[in-house]
């Protein structure tokens, strides 16, 4: 294993892609992902990777070329953000339904409009029903580690689905932090030589991709996608254990922090949960039994594991960095209530929609949210189910 170095989140992602050395990368630059593509194209120009780099004129073409390359038996990757992901939309669904093991870092940014380049999760949440797996990570290290594991998860014969690796735009992508990269050889050994299950270009095993699929089979194919995601629940843990053997870094469905005896807890995604960890530490010093769940796997949603993890919690705050505009809470809130509705525990749940368009959420904010949860625990009442935290009204 190599030394600790200081890199931006984008540099860490580009490094992971360099070490993976994919057969094909087709990508279009967009803030805040730009640096990933820029650095990677430099690796191609310098000849330090063997990748065929396809410069395209849009993200729709980026995903189309990635789909074509993957169907042709190549290990294919791309990366995007926000409006770029939105422009890929049509082909994002096709990548999943064609069962192509593509890995795509998404550097999370608010979808327009109004136009904004900063972090929220509206881009990823828009793609939550596309059939991709979705991993989230707190920092550059998690994004780097997730990309490497995502490759194994995607390519696993029981899964065969694309994986989106989410990393917070600017907060992580443009911040320098310490990371411990793996040695090139360790990554090569971990991901192995790519052996595609099928290839459009294999004359001995002819296959058809993207045919018309009407009332008689479409539904069965959709059901098979669900099977792939069900298998992914096991595969994510298996690959996580293998990665732990290699690095000592532990990845499962989520991280539980000081949750065992906790009465109040927060659940959320990505960089905010790091700040929340410090909030937990501060409240614990006051004797308040606070804890948190830092969710890594959003698609598929780890229902059973979350039920077990939350069984003794009295009040749960659900942190959403995106809205659904349902007037019924954010996307994670919907999943959590759905998970716990008929589980029979008396858990009270409060939703916080926060940080849209990159609005900062700091340690005092998160401590304040925990104190609100404590108030709910003490008087047994949820005053406001869905809260827009940190907005001027």
């Amino acid at each position: 294993m190599s030394e600790q170095i200081a890199l931006t989140g984008n540099e860490a992602l580009a490094l992971a892609m360099k070490q993976i050395n994919p057969d094909v990368v087709a990508a279009y630059p967009i803030t805040p992902q730009t640096e990933v593509v820029q650095l990677f194209s430099q690796f191609v120009a310098d000849g330090v990777v063997d990748t065929e780099f396809v410069t395209v004129e849009s993200e729709h073409s980026a995903m189309s070329a990635t789909v074509g390359a993957s169907a042709g038996g190549a290990r294919a990757m791309t990366a995007t953000s926000a409006n770029g992901l939105a422009l890929m939309w049509e082909i994002v669904y096709i990548a999943a339904s064609t069962r192509l093991p593509i890995v795509m870092p998404v550097v999370n940014r608010a979808l327009s409009g109004p136009i904004n380049i900063h972090c929220d999760h509206s881009d990823a949440m828009g793609a939550r029903d596309s059939g991709w797996l979705q991993l989230f990570g707190e920092n550059a290290q998690a994004a780097y580690d997730n990309v490497i594991q995502a490759l194994r998860i995607a390519e696993h014969r029981d899964v065969m689905l694309p994986v989106m690796v989410n990393m917070d735009g600017f907060i992580i992508s443009h911040a320098v932090e310490n990371i411990k990269p793996l040695a090139d050889q360790d990554i090569r050994d971990f991901i192995g030589e790519y052996q595609p299950a099928y290839s459009l270009l294999d004359p001995d095993q002819t296959t058809t991709y993207g045919p018309l699929d009407l009332q008689d089979f479409y539904f069965e194919h959709k059901r098979q996608q669900v099977d792939g995601l069900e298998h992914a629940l096991e595969v994510v843990l298996d690959i996580g254990r293998e990665f732990y053997q290699l690095t000592g870094r532990d990845y499962g469905y989520f991280e539980k922090y000081r949750l065992d005896d906790a009465e109040i807890a927060l659940i959320g995604l990505a960089s905010t949960m790091g700040t929340a960890r410090e909030a937990v530490n501060n409240l614990r010093k006051e004797g308040i039994k606070a804890g948190l769940i830092n969710l890594r796997l959003f698609r598929p949603f780890p229902v059973q594991a979350l039920r077990e993890a939350l069984q003794d919690i009295k009040v749960l705050g659900v942190m959403d960095r995106a809205d659904t505009f349902s007037l019924n809470g954010g996307p994670l809130f919907g999943e959590i209530r759905n998970t716990l509705f008929d589980f029979g525990n008396k858990l009270k749940i409060v939703n916080y929609i926060y940080g849209l368009g990159g609005r900062d959420i700091n340690l005092s904010d998160l401590e304040g949210i925990f104190r609100q949860l404590l108030e709910v625990k003490e008087n047994g009442k949820v005053k406001q189910l869905v809260n827009y935290y940190g907005v001027r009204e």
Binding site: I5, I171, T275
Partner: protein
């Protein structure tokens, strides 16, 4: 660094606040610390007030938010004083280093700072002009910071800074040496100690 140390950088677009925030973090990382460095990205324009942050800790850093109460504020451009509240939320007992040819005492009244904030000045414009050949106040400020917070041995600091500068200015030895001389001079010349 023992425990968390947080720095806020005030500058104007083009002066290198972001570069300095990252250089300092990389020096700190190379000396075995955990770090974070990040600018506050707004509508970037040459000359507009900008902010950047550096966190240094000997333990892993979990916070992913702007710095609420910095231990040190560094001002790369004296014309920001009055235009921007550079002392906002500066911790009690915190340090303020300003790029200025004035004595700290001369700025104390303008800033309205009390005795709970320690004020330092260094003429980073002049130093950089003489050593690098143009006004680039960001690297000399690194030397002033190292002195003010009484952090690394000067030779150790310039050795680590040199490694980073070599990477940054790949091969341009004169630029690297100019920056290193500027760092050393600012270390010696910072006023208010």
């Amino acid at each position: 660094m023992k425990g968390m140390f947080e720095i806020r950088w005030h500058g104007r677009g083009g002066q290198g606040s972001k570069t300095a925030s990252i250089l300092l973090a990389k020096i700190a990382a190379a000396s075995g610390n955990y770090v974070q460095a990040f600018p506050e990205y707004g509508p970037e324009r040459m000359g507009a007030p900008v902010l950047a942050y550096t966190r240094i800790n000997n333990h892993p850093i979990h916070l992913h938010c702007q710095i609420e109460e910095p231990d040190l504020v560094v001002v790369l451009d004296p014309t920001l004083i009055g235009a921007v509240d550079v002392t906002a939320n500066l911790s009690k007992g915190g340090d303020l280093i300003i790029n200025s040819e004035k004595e700290p005492g001369q700025l104390k009244d303008t800033l309205g700072t009390g005795d709970d904030i320690k004020l330092f000045t260094v003429d980073a414009n002049q130093i950089s002009e003489e050593e690098i050949g143009r006004v680039f106040p960001n690297t000399p400020m690194l030397g002033a910071i190292n002195k003010v917070i009484n952090w690394l041995e000067l030779t150790r600091f310039t050795e680590l800074a040199g490694e980073e500068l070599k990477r940054k200015f790949s091969g341009k030895a004169e630029v690297v040496f100019g920056n290193l001389r500027a760092i050393e001079r600012a270390y010696q010349e910072v006023k208010g100690l």
